[in-house]
């Protein structure tokens, strides 16, 4: 059963140099205990997309579409109602745990704040709960750490604090926006383990935003690949990694050197050109200018998401059909 169902989400951001269509008709859904990864390069709209779900996107942004949660469209709800959803039903963790925590408030207090907002608990109960939460996410000496300020903790500990804050009220959906990008690999591994562990224990759905295919392979059940504001491929990770159908997905995968394949010394294949900035929804494939197989059809109509041979859904008129390893 889908916990969160996003339909045709578009986000338009006004800027000095005209507006930018950051997200263009994005649809996806995530089920209970499922980890959905949204992957893409910088500027593809993946972060803006999830922030806009609960009105946390850029100010003055125009958000259209439907965000269905618990039988209601969140985009049409009033700010007050939305606030009750935030932190309680749908919680976020962000990329940089240094800046995402208030530097002037002890971390324990910052976690207590969520509890004070959404749960009726006494102060003592809240404090006890914070220690419990800290222990759950693997923060040693929890009671003592709760009194620390963010700058006194390491990056990994700070991100654990963020996670404990997010799960404090037992949300049904956790949105993790590049949660490990600012961290070292060894710490990243630990944080990803914690997320998987929490998913298993608490059964929440996780929407994970990342640019790292390795992270996707590690933790996700399904993946949506975004390019220039659109979903261009979607599917279970087995399918997407084994038989990516969109040339861009393929490009992303072959652009990363694969560890252990050194002997082959296969040349990396980057994708020529750069990600375009989209001002308005165009009736064409936005990847056409960087794509080797683009033709007139690609430039004259927006390709719909359709079933591909490999079991993924792809927005491409000329999808790849071979297994990716066979190249």
């Amino acid at each position: 059963m889908n916990v969160l169902d996003v339909r045709d989400l578009s986000v338009e951001i006004p800027t000095e140099t005209g507006h930018v269509l950051a997200v263009d008709g994005l649809s996806y859904s995530v089920g209970e205990s499922e980890i959905l990864a949204i992957v893409g390069e910088s500027g593809c709209g993946k972060s803006v997309g999830v922030l806009s779900l609960l009105g946390l996107g850029p100010e003055h942004a125009r958000v259209t579409g439907e965000v269905n949660y618990a039988g209601q469209n969140l985009l049409t709800r009033k700010p007050d109602a939305l606030r009750r959803v935030r932190g309680q039903d749908i919680a976020y963790i962000f990329q940089d745990p240094m800046t995402a925590l208030n530097p002037l408030m002890p971390v324990g207090k910052q976690v207590e704040e969520v509890l004070a907002q959404h749960a009726s608990m006494s102060r003592a109960e809240r404090r006890a709960r914070v220690v419990e939460l800290f222990e759950l996410v693997g923060i040693p000496a929890a009671a003592e750490r709760a009194r620390a300020y963010p700058h006194q903790l390491s990056g990994g500990m700070r991100q654990r604090v963020m996670i404990s804050m997010a799960i404090a009220c037992g949300p049904r959906v956790l949105i993790a926006d590049e949660p490990t990008t600012a961290l070292d690999v060894t710490v990243q591994a630990a944080i990803l383990e914690i997320l998987k562990d929490l998913r298993d224990k608490l059964g929440m759905a996780i929407v994970l935003i990342t640019h790292d295919m390795g992270v996707v392979a590690d933790i996700a059940d399904r993946v949506v690949v975004m390019y220039a504001g659109r979903a261009i491929e979607e599917g279970g990770i087995e399918q997407v990694f084994r038989r990516p159908a969109h040339p861009y997905t393929r490009g992303l995968l072959s652009a990363v050197p694969v560890p252990g394949q050194r002997a082959a010394r296969a040349r990396l294949r980057g994708i020529p050109g750069t990600v375009p900035v989209i001002a308005e929804s165009v009736d064409a494939c936005t990847f056409a200018d960087r794509c080797g197989r683009a033709d007139e059809a690609c430039r004259s109509g927006r390709p719909p998401l359709a079933e591909a041979a490999g079991g993924t859904r792809v927005a491409c008129r000329h999808p790849e059909t071979k297994e990716s390893n066979g190249e």
Partner: protein
């Protein structure tokens, strides 16, 4: 400190093929801060042979970037020496150092800040040519166009300012500028980590091609193990200011000797779900200790799953062994024997 015997002892000699491109001898860099002394680089011996790419990996706070700056005399070592082509450049100053800078250079991580925003691409590339009087003014424009061509940029770009370029283009300009005086040593400090994945590949390819064509030696600093594996001939692993392992890339990536090397390798997620989910996992407990106050004994012991008492008290020296197949490896670990055998790491430690 024992020296790898592959290095020419003492680093004397001049211009002969045996002189390493870069030889760091017991290099130390301490920074005084308000909170105390940061022991950023704390006794490093490292050699890069001519025409080889040495990958330097380590996490933030390991001192790898400081090492890169020391290697091109952008920072002055607290002690120890930086020998480039037989000359200790760390003690040179003024005119002589500036003259020598022709033969070593550096490219940085952030393409947004590594080029002067008030200079055009052409000026940026021409500057080192002028300083080292490589071409006459008349031939300058042609030379610049030529250099831009080698990094895959069109000559028209010479009139543009940096803010008009994409990240990938900027990094190409940085490479063009750094390689313009044809140095024998290039330090590349995380040159791809600020770039988008699809652009990273082309920059990695470019570095590989340029190195192949121009034959400079390269210290390639990165936290991206896959990139290092792709490019490097040999790899050094740094932890808290010390080099803990140096080996040829093949050996290091297939059979790392130091526990930290192995943990680092296994922590990097593979972009392949089957492999990633079935592989043995080791999650490190604890955090990187502060370089203000590194642990006694082996610096890795508080996080090492197989540490013994000796590790807590006695700091391991870098030892060198010859591995089956003839390759040599250096490592700083008490638990590895002379055959390169060490107890296996315990898998699946509880997280946290």
């Amino acid at each position: 400190m024992s020296e790898p015997n592959t290095a020419v002892a003492g680093g004397t000699g001049n211009g002969s093929a045996d002189v390493p491109a870069l030889h760091l001898k017991n290099l130390v860099k301490h920074y005084a801060t308000r909170r105390g002394t940061v022991r950023s680089v704390d006794g490093v011996d490292l050699t890069i042979r001519k025409g080889e790419i040495l990958g330097l990996v380590g996490e933030s706070g390991s001192g790898k970037s400081t090492l890169g700056k020391l290697a091109v005399a952008l920072a002055e070592p607290t002690s120890g020496s930086v020998v480039i082509d037989g000359t200790d450049v760390s003690r040179l100053s003024g005119r002589e150092l500036r003259r020598r800078r022709k033969s070593f250079n550096i490219v940085f991580q952030d393409p947004g800040s590594s080029l002067n925003p008030r200079m055009t691409v052409g000026e940026a590339v021409a500057e080192p040519l002028r300083i080292h009087r490589i071409v006459e003014r008349r031939g300058e424009a042609r030379k610049v166009a030529e250099i831009l061509d080698t990094v895959g940029l069109r000559p028209e770009i010479a009139d543009r300012y940096v803010h008009m370029l994409s990240g990938g283009q900027r990094q190409r300009v940085s490479l063009a500028r750094a390689l313009a005086p044809e140095p024998t040593l290039l330090v590349a400090d995380e040159p791809t980590s600020a770039l988008d994945v699809s652009v990273q590949a082309s920059v990695l390819n470019l570095i590989a091609d340029l190195q192949h064509d121009l034959g400079f030696a390269c210290l390639f600093i990165s936290h991206d193990l896959a990139a290092v594996e792709y490019l490097a001939d040999r790899v050094a692993v740094m932890y808290l200011g010390r080099v803990v392992e140096v080996a040829d890339a093949e050996s290091l990536f297939t059979r790392p000797l130091h526990p930290y090397s192995e943990i680092l390798l296994k922590a990097a997620p593979l972009p392949d779900p089957d492999a990633q989910r079935t592989r043995e996992r080791i999650v490190l407990g604890g955090d990187l200790p502060s370089p203000l106050n590194p642990p006694a004994g082996c610096r890795f012991h508080p996080r090492c799953p197989i540490a013994v008492d000796r590790c807590r008290t006695e700091e391991p020296e870098l030892r060198e062994i010859v591995r089956p197949g003839g390759a040599t490896s250096s490592f700083a670990c008490h638990l590895v024997d002379d055959q390169g055998v060490r107890p296996p790491l315990i898998a699946d430690m509880p997280s946290g």
